[in-house]
């Protein structure tokens, strides 16, 4: 409730600017949730694979970087979107 009052007070002072900043924060924060979990899964499983079969570590590492690159793209879209949002 206090938070809401603060937000409304900030919005009343300069209606668009504060809300834009909040929107940017929410956009990037929300966009980072999924890729955070996804990269954790990718790297965790890659480490398991490397520990079980050290001789295949080279191939697993390359594939892991590919998996990370595909997963983190979503977070980066959010990062760019946060810049594009203007108020």
């Amino acid at each position: 409730m206090v938070m809401l009052h603060l937000l409304l007070a900030a919005a009343a002072a300069d209606p668009t600017k504060g809300l834009t900043a909040i929107g940017r924060g929410i956009v990037y924060g929300a966009a980072a949730i999924g890729p955070g979990i996804g990269i954790g899964l990718v790297v965790g499983n890659a480490i398991t694979a490397m520990a079980r079969q050290p001789e295949s570590a080279g191939t697993v590492r390359t594939t892991m970087f590919l998996g990370i690159a595909f997963t983190e793209a979503l977070a980066l879209f959010g990062f760019v979107l946060a810049f594009i949002i203007s108020g």
Binding site: T62, F65, A69, F79, F83
Partner: protein
């Protein structure tokens, strides 16, 4: 902040083009440096190619990096078929690496790829290449069908129709539109984010140092700045590597479609 009298474009210019077609700023100077460095390494590094044992730092750098691109990027994805793309991939890798590494070069400290113009051109170049390779290797019709309708295996006809109604638009978007866009965004956003982090901690350290009592915690911010600088070396290398290997993977998918 300026280098040779040319200014860094401000952050608000991320989505705005520069001042006119011939406006030279710091980004352009760094790209020229990257271009000259890439050409110089391979021109001067390969002049003594008849010598059986490589000697000198340039020749060793050129030969071992060609070996790296060959073994770590091409053989891992395309196999022997893709060795013809070694010049393109090696150039791509080195150009991106040299324009990234200026992020931590003292006095410059700005990754040119943090502005999306050139990453966009590189991504479009890759897009053109993998499309042309696909059309050449499979023919236009087969290429389009293979990339938009992936094989599903055994399934009743109704299921196939339902699956393709869902899959075909997604596959089309992901192959022809999201691929170049995500290549561009991945490189540019990673470099921009790293640059912003370094700038934030540098400014924070200076501000803590300037104030009277907060001097005590300034070393913490400075230590993180040093650590992040080390991390950005890794990121510069990794982004160049990932751009090159994704290009190799896309060309591989065009050359050898799933059966």
């Amino acid at each position: 902040m300026s280098l040779l009298g040319v200014d860094v474009p401000p952050v608000s210019h991320v989505t705005i083009w520069g001042s006119g077609p011939l406006g030279i700023n710091k980004t352009v100077v760094i790209y020229l440096f990257a271009l000259i460095a890439t050409v110089a390494v391979f021109y001067f590094g390969t002049r003594k190619k008849d010598a059986l044992v490589p000697s000198g730092i340039l020749q060793n750098t050129a030969e071992s990096s060609i070996g790296f691109v060959r073994n770590q990027i091409i053989m891992q994805t395309m196999g022997v078929d893709g060795l013809g793309y070694l010049p393109y991939l090696a150039t791509l890798f080195f150009f991106i690496f040299f324009s990234n590494i200026t992020e931590i070069l003292p006095g410059v400290q700005f990754p040119a790829n943090a502005r999306f113009g050139v990453p966009l051109v590189l991504a479009l170049l890759t897009w053109i290449i993998f499309n042309v390779v696909g059309i050449k290797r499979q023919g236009p019709g087969h290429y389009f069908v293979n990339s938009v309708f992936p094989p599903l295996g055994d399934m009743p006809l109704v299921g196939k129709i339902a699956m393709y109604a869902l899959l075909a638009p997604i596959e089309f978007l992901s192959t022809f539109i999201i691929r170049p866009f995500s290549l561009m965004v991945r490189l540019f956003a990673n470099m921009l984010a790293g640059h912003l982090i370094l700038t934030t901690f540098a400014v924070l350290t200076a501000a803590l140092w300037a104030a009277k009592i907060t001097v005590i915690i300034a070393p913490l911010s400075f230590a993180l700045l040093v650590a992040m600088t080390g991390f950005e070396v890794l990121v510069s290398f990794l982004q160049a590597f990932i751009f090159a290997i994704l290009t190799a993977v896309y060309i591989d998918i065009s050359m050898h479609p799933a059966h």
